[in-house]
Symmetry: C2
Subunit: 676 residues, 2 copies
């Protein structure tokens, strides 16, 4: 077995395969079993798309303000904008229940690779294999759910090289304890996003409740009053969303040439619609704020990723890596015979994708909450009739509770915003796909986009949760008979979307799974399980050290302080987005300005790691991950070495305490964190 | 006449050709005659290599600490290191006389192009032309000196396209009033050099004396208490040292391929010698400090310049520019016939240079002060015998006063330092040129470098100013008879140096002058006098606006504040070079931390502009230029546009006042500046 030299601090590791050897060799760190178990059980996935950690035995959890931003917006009104004003519940009675936030704790995991892979009969086509895998996965999930009552998902790793059953405890009663003003959580706005030095208090505290009481969470991270020291070993635990490091060159070339440019078009169009809407007034800007921030963030990240992918030097490296694996495989004739064809198979599949990719991207109603609800109801009514193991993944029994929790959210839906974004979306679809496209024709017929959308939004009753519930329970019959214009729109487009989904499953995803499994096995045969699998929004551990870096000709320090916040604000004459919330001006004299505010560290993280607790050897929380610097952006496709200046960015635990105590008069919260 | 589009804010302009049209069109600024005269007469060239400006009617002048660094070191002792500790003379009686600083004020200038160029006889070879020009220049200078008693230099502009007689008033009794600690003047050290945001109090106040009394300087810049506003039009007046924008492609290619790499070797070798010496102890580090800083600065700048020159895109641009000029010239057959051969002539000359360039670079004793003095004495004794118009430029009558002022400086010479740097230098020469090289053989004969140098440094009496004076006055006979081993070393190498200088004059410099004149005339014929001449350490005006810029994906503000100084210091845990002088910690509570400290502006400046007063429309001093950012480094070869982020960096006038008043208890000095 030849082992490639993997680079320092690489990898988002699963808990079944922690990098214990590296920790011992590089950092002289040997965690106890208790340490590992505690970290696993104190780490949280927030299903809005982020991470967090318990920080008290009473269900208190810390995450980023930007992870909680969607809920903050849903809790806001025209009269009290929590995004803008921040929030602090001085007593538990004042804590505000988030309308539709689910969090998950990974309780246990089990390797089911053998069971899944052996369910595929010899001689099965890719498509048959896909169905056979799906059936056994549905069965495994159902058995586990029945047995444990835990949310049970079979998750694919290493492009299908392994399958694991992940059991998560879920909480759906999550309440808001504290959030700072967005202006300080996101100081510097989109300009300073992915930039360091940085001065953001990107933190929010929530509390998990169970049966109307604060949840008992004996596994929690002790809050560090001092934070990390320069050079200190740290671990980030969280749920990185997605990486694409194990893709074949053919898959990467598709991303570079078609996938990413298309994604850019989609997000740009959505962002433009939101920006135009927000220009109508302050209230509209409030409604669109969280989505705009999310789209801007996505676009800036995508630009960095695509810059990496279009860099020939970087792409050459991926080609060389693939060639090295193929060459090594060539020395194992038996393995080669089985696995080698997978690359060609993938390349053939992906050569078909560009001609369908625009249809796949635009044939949906996703920017609209009402459109999404309508499609979910229509789709559910079809799927629920089928046996469990034949349904779309998201409608399997094991996932229905979470599905309904989201569908029946009480969060306010704003018709004016809905109309604006859905109109812009369908107009972009029409422009991109043409008037004769099946989706476009099904959606609009001969009418104008604006007419269709105006009617659907103004006349639908889907904003009423009780009405949604009645349709959910009414089944296929209720859906079929509904004259709700948004349901009717969804009914018209759903058959087209189904066809496209089927095409994608048959032509692409089933090949991804089959070929991916073969390439993974080839990689295991050559290198062993020496690298971490691609991220998939499940719990991972990353590690590294707190450390500054060189940039151009100078040094960037490992941390920033409150001094720097005031410097940057004053240097720009407090012009937005470099303005400070009022209380930062009033309280300036009370703050110890030398207190650290943000810091950087070398761990391998990506979007989804936002809110990850950054902990030291003693499992004390020293920071909350909230960003990466610009040098790290293309790490979706490859690990970027520490000495290239690639860094994760975190809020410093001491800075959070200083702000709670001196700016927000939140001594009780600080006491819950520290005991002081 | 076709006029190329020159870019906003380009040019270091002479006072005979100020960019009045651009000022009016772009900034609606029309200076009065009085404004222009005042700026000219209040601006100062410091012959140590920098700029400054009068800031009170009593001879007070402001420049950078790093411009005054050499004098600060010469005024320091082992017991009181002014570089480290700073200095403030509370009374005039306490002001310290700089041992060998001369400053010049440009009093008048006169176009002598016609007289110089017409002195060249028809049919003269380049070398004859060179001698004929030299003769007339010597005469012009002598006439002016006799008539005005002002320092009178004929200066070549536009590579010989124009000649001007510049008359300077000189002061040689310059006293130190105030200098901050180097640690705050150069906060961030070599790392932060050429970096912005920046936090350096790079200022020193000196006072010119005349006849033992503070000089009367009715032309001075009023100190601005508020400094510049964002977007404000500003002018920098100073003496930029050298640019190379009008070089031919052949000359640039020589710089890129041979000149710059050789310069890098020379400076690196010198820096290494100084660094090794400084490691011997604190006192040695003090002695070598100013030279080390100067070498580091030079190397960092050279690296940036060479990065620009080796960028093919940039070099292509220069080739395209040259081609455009040649193409335009081709449409003027008469002019073309005379001027066009100049490019070939230059290319031919520069093709000969690489084989001599190492000998030219290493055949000298320049890193050693004693070696330099010895060579100056030997050379003077030869030259002074010749008629005025046949001497080397630096020994012409008009320049002898300044020459003797420098030679007879009372500044301490440190033998241990001399021995270290001269040994390292001659060893590097030996390694580079080989043992059979004429200079190496003349210097060392069969002895070892270390023996030759040890004896020359330990036994020479040249440290004694009276001895130097006796040799100066003793003439050729005294030099010939001297058994001083440093003089003997100089006598041995001087004939070799003379041969090389003659080769360079004949083969390169005379061609530079003749061909340069032709190319300049071609450029005038095609474009008119629409661009500024290359910098040559004479008074120029640059202009632009105070303005931040974009870098990577974010914004860099136009200014920084004291907050940022404390942020950067604290972020690095005050590790050198990010540590603060003690009084900045003691006085932190008294300082208004929101006071601006540094700012950037878009004017076209280069090394030599250090200390330039940055003034507003009212000729008030709003800042002191002290650096450029890294985006601007290659502007030696071409102007870099404002929207590429190229900026000059200045100390803010309000920041200087705040430090004087709150940190240094220098209220009297602040009062002299502001009247308050």
């Amino acid at each position: 077995m030849s082992v490639p030299v993997y680079r320092a601090d690489e990898g988002m590791w699963t808990f079944d395969n922690l990098p214990l050897k590296q920790w011992k060799e590089r950092y002289n760190f040997e965690p106890t079993k208790e340490w590992i178990e505690k970290v696993q059980l104190a780490s949280i996935r927030l299903n809005d798309g982020g991470s967090g950690g318990f920080v008290s035995p009473d269900g208190l959890l810390a995450t980023n303000q930007h992870v909680a931003a969607g809920q903050l917006q849903k809790l806001s009104t025209k009269e009290n904008d929590l995004t803008k004003n921040g929030f602090y519940a001085k007593t538990r009675a004042e804590e505000l229940k988030a309308p539709d936030l689910e969090i998950n704790i990974l309780v246990s995991f089990e390797n089911v690779t053998e069971r899944v892979q052996s369910a595929v009969k010899a001689g099965a086509t890719d498509q048959q294999a896909s169905e056979q895998r799906k059936a056994v996965i549905a069965q495994i999930e159902k058995d586990s759910l029945d047995k444990t009552d835990l949310k049970s998902d079979v998750v694919s790793f290493y492009s299908g090289g392994e399958y694991w059953l992940y059991r998560n405890k879920k909480y759906t009663d999550i309440r808001l304890v504290f959030a700072p003003e967005e202006q300080i959580a996101f100081f510097g706005g989109d300009y300073d996003n992915f930039v360091f030095p940085r001065y953001d208090l990107d933190v929010t505290f929530l509390r998990a409740y169970e049966n109307g009481q604060p949840a008992k969470t004996p596994n929690f991270f002790k809050w560090s009053e001092t934070g990390p020291t320069d050079g200190e070993f740290v671990v980030a635990a969280g749920s990185p969303g997605s990486t694409a490091r194990l893709l074949t060159v053919a898959q990467l070339a598709y991303q570079r040439d078609a996938g990413n440019p298309l994604q850019k078009q989609v997000w740009t169009s959505q962002l433009n619609a939101l920006e135009n809407y927000s220009k109508r007034g302050a209230e509209q800007a409030r409604q669109a704020g969280s989505a705009m921030r999310s789209r801007s963030n996505g676009l800036k990240r995508l630009t960095g990723q695509q810059d990496g992918l279009t860099n020939p030097r970087m792409f050459d490296k991926k080609e060389a890596e693939e060639k090295a694996l193929k060459d090594a495989l060539a020395k194992m004739p038996d393995a080669q015979k089985i696995y080698a064809p997978a690359w060609e198979q993938t390349a053939a599949a992906y050569s078909e994708l560009p001609k369908m990719s625009k249809r796949l991207a635009f044939s949906n109603l996703s920017p609209s909450r009402l459109g999404t609800i309508a499609l979910q109801l229509v789709r559910y009514s079809e799927e629920i009739k089928k046996p469990n193991d034949r349904r779309y993944d998201e409608f399997r029994d094991s996932r229905l509770e979470s599905f309904k929790f989201g569908l029946l959210s009480t969060a306010t839906i704003y018709p004016e915003l809905e109309e604006a974004v859905l109109t812009a979306w369908l107009e972009e679809a029409q422009k991109t796909l043409g008037g004769n496209d099946p989706f476009v024709k099904a959606a609009m017929g001969d009418a104008k986009v604006s007419e269709i959308v105006k009617r659907a939004v103004s006349e639908t009753k889907l904003r009423d949760v009780a009405y949604r519930k009645s349709l959910l329970e009414g089944g296929a019959d209720a859906i079929a008979k509904s004259t709700d214009p948004m349901i009717m729109l969804a009914r018209r487009v759903e058959p087209i979307i189904r066809e496209l989904r089927q095409w994608n499953e048959e032509k692409i995803l089933s090949v991804d799974a089959s070929a991916g499994e073969k390439i993974s096995k080839a990689r295991f045969a050559v290198y062993g399980k020496s690298i971490a699998p691609d991220a998939n929004f499940n719990l991972r551990i990353s590690y590294g050290k707190v450390k500054g870096y060189e940039e151009d000709t100078t040094l960037v320090p490992f941390k920033t302080t409150f001094f720097g916040l005031y410097d940057r604000a004053n240097s720009f004459g407090e012009k937005p987005p470099f303005d400070l919330p009022a209380r930062y001006k009033e309280r300036r004299g009370s703050i110890d300005l030398s207190t650290p505010l943000n810091f950087v560290y070398s761990a391998d993280t990506i979007g989804g790691n936002s809110g990850s607790p950054v902990i030291n050897r003693n499992a004390e929380l020293v920071g909350l991950n909230f960003d990466s610097n610009i040098q790290k952006l293309s790490n979706r496709y490859w690990y970027i070495e520490e000495d290239e200046g690639s860094r994760a960015v975190a809020v410093h635990s001491a800075g959070i305490l200083e702000a709670l105590r001196k700016v927000y008069d939140a001594a009780d919260l600080a006491k819950e964190l520290t005991g002081k």
